[in-house]
Symmetry: none
Subunit: 296 residues, 2 copies
DNA sequence: ATATGTTTGAAACTGTAGTTTCGGAACGCG
DNA sequence: CGCGTTCCGAAACTACAGTTTCAAACATAT
């Protein structure tokens, strides 16, 4: 056999590993970058997150600058040349395989997805299977049509209620999360009417008291939307619509990802239904923000 | 002088997209592959799942065969040449990164949740590509070791700070989100020390004032962890660690999903590092919950 | 044995990716 | 206005990636 001595086994073919990531290097130099190199940096940050899949000439073409600019940029960032940067990018991109599961006790690790990424994706997929577009449509319509929207959620679910409110107030008013800090839900109950709508977010580890509020709302005829997970038992009976998402993955903490995605989808759909009026509201907010110069 | 302003518009920059994936092509031909090409195929399947990050010569070196074999393989698989295969691999991986989201509202909402699902998954994938496991490890360790954890975030980012706090207090104390309602961050700055750690969540639509707080923290030597999106410009220079996630999908509202997943991942990793002490804390909390009978 | 057909890597070949050089353009400043 | 400085891209240059050629090595048949 010929096989002289093969190249396959370099002693340590993975040369580098450490050193700041490309992104942080860019950020470090960003202010002092000349125009053409900054254009390149923007392209890398925004469009070509995975440097290793590109050639330098592609990047410069995308940025509309010369190849020379690319060479200069990578040298300025502390690389020997483009190829070294490419290698570094590749070495760095692997939160893939070896992640052990959460520490909570033991098991879990047996059958589940190997990475947190897969776990999240899996939960999303399974959640979508539980949802029907038609129901989402109805719910969004109800939210657009309501005189006032009340949101409720404890613990974990509180963030989701806040998030949903944040999205909704982009294009309509009268959206309230209850209870505010230091208040109890009871204080609001008197305000509910049948032209309002109540959105209850109740993910795992539900708290006592939800039932009572929902019963009270039902008594005055306020439609109820319930966002919960498959472990809910008695709550759905009280709701007019129930949207169920998965939360339990194979890692230590539950995931709110699917619930968050659902909220986003509700908001997007509702925005569509809000039509001209909603967009007008949105533009008004936008304009005010600009004049106040709130952002950087 | 030729065109100074010509940039990104190639006539058809997106070459192809479809056609069987590289893997399935390999499997189709696998049995009929000659030795050297099979070695290459194995390398691709096992070690270089992401073809677009490699050069043909690297592959042949890894497989211990000649470059000629590589050329032959890719032609046999139905590609015009290696470069076409590389492009195909890349196109397949980020179908749809740079696309603009539908005009604020209507358009995109039509298609069912399946597309929003794809959007979320795509954002997750792209975000993961920006993160390095090593840095997450470091950050988690820093959070476990800190005397006290301060969290900060405005607007959208506020929910994330709250969520992260919620996860962290499962296994350790002294985790504070600032500013509380009605307070300004300034009131807390005096308490920062170099044994603390500051986590700043600053997704799109950042608010003025972050810079000042970060500068103040930096002045007293408090390490800073920054969670942000690719559009951040000046902030990363002030942070000790910067974790970047994608937020802009094809729909009207930004997605916090990837940021949330990152928070969960940080929490899971930190929990692992907290070891026995962290678990003890967790059990203590658990026991108290049981005795109080808070849940249903 | 000779004939026919594969498979293979070395080496020649070619194109193009990445670097370097260089002159010009743009800005700053006395 | 001159004189530096910095930034830029065209073009020359170099190196190497990917292709092609070719003859040796091996297989199988006749």
């Amino acid at each position: 056999m010929t096989k002289t001595s093969h190249p396959a086994e370099g002693p340590t073919p993975k040369p580098d590993a450490r050193g700041p990531s490309i992104e942080s290097r860019i950020h470090d130099h960003y202010d002092s970058l000349p125009d053409s190199e900054r254009k390149l940096a923007d392209v890398i940050l925004e469009r070509a997150a995975d440097l290793s899949a590109f050639k330098a000439s592609e990047l410069s073409a995308l940025a509309g600058v010369s190849k020379a600019a690319a060479t200069r940029l990578f040298q300025r960032l502390g690389f020997d040349g483009f190829d070294e940067a490419r290698l570094a990018a590749r070495a760095r991109r692997d939160w893939g395989s070896p992640l052990y599961m959460g520490a909570s006790g033991s098991g879990a690790a047996l059958s589940g997805p190997a990475t947190l990424l897969e776990d999240e994706i899996d939960l999303l997929r399974r959640s979508v299977r539980r949802l029907s577009p038609a129901m989402i449509d109805d719910v969004a319509a109800a939210m657009v049509g309501a005189r006032r929207i009340w949101l409720m959620g404890y613990r974990n679910s509180r963030f989701l209620a806040d998030y949903l409110r944040w999205q909704l107030i982009q294009f309509r008013g009268d959206v309230t999360v209850l209870p505010g800090t230091g208040e109890t839900a009871g204080e609001y109950l008197a305000d509910l009417t049948e032209r309002d709508i109540l959105v209850v977010v109740a993910l795992r580890r539900r708290v006592h008291g939800l039932l009572e509020v929902m019963e009270a709302a039902r008594a005055v005829g306020t439609p109820i939307i319930l966002v919960t997970d498959p472990t809910a038992r008695r709550l759905p009976a009280l709701a007019d619509w129930t949207l169920t998402v998965e939360t339990q993955g194979h890692f230590a903490f539950d995931s709110c990802g699917p619930a968050l995605a659902l909220c986003r989808f509700l908001a997007v759909t509702a925005l569509g239904k809000a039509g001209r009026r909603g967009r007008a509201h949105m533009e008004r907010v936008e304009r005010r923000h600009e004049t106040l110069d709130v952002f950087n």
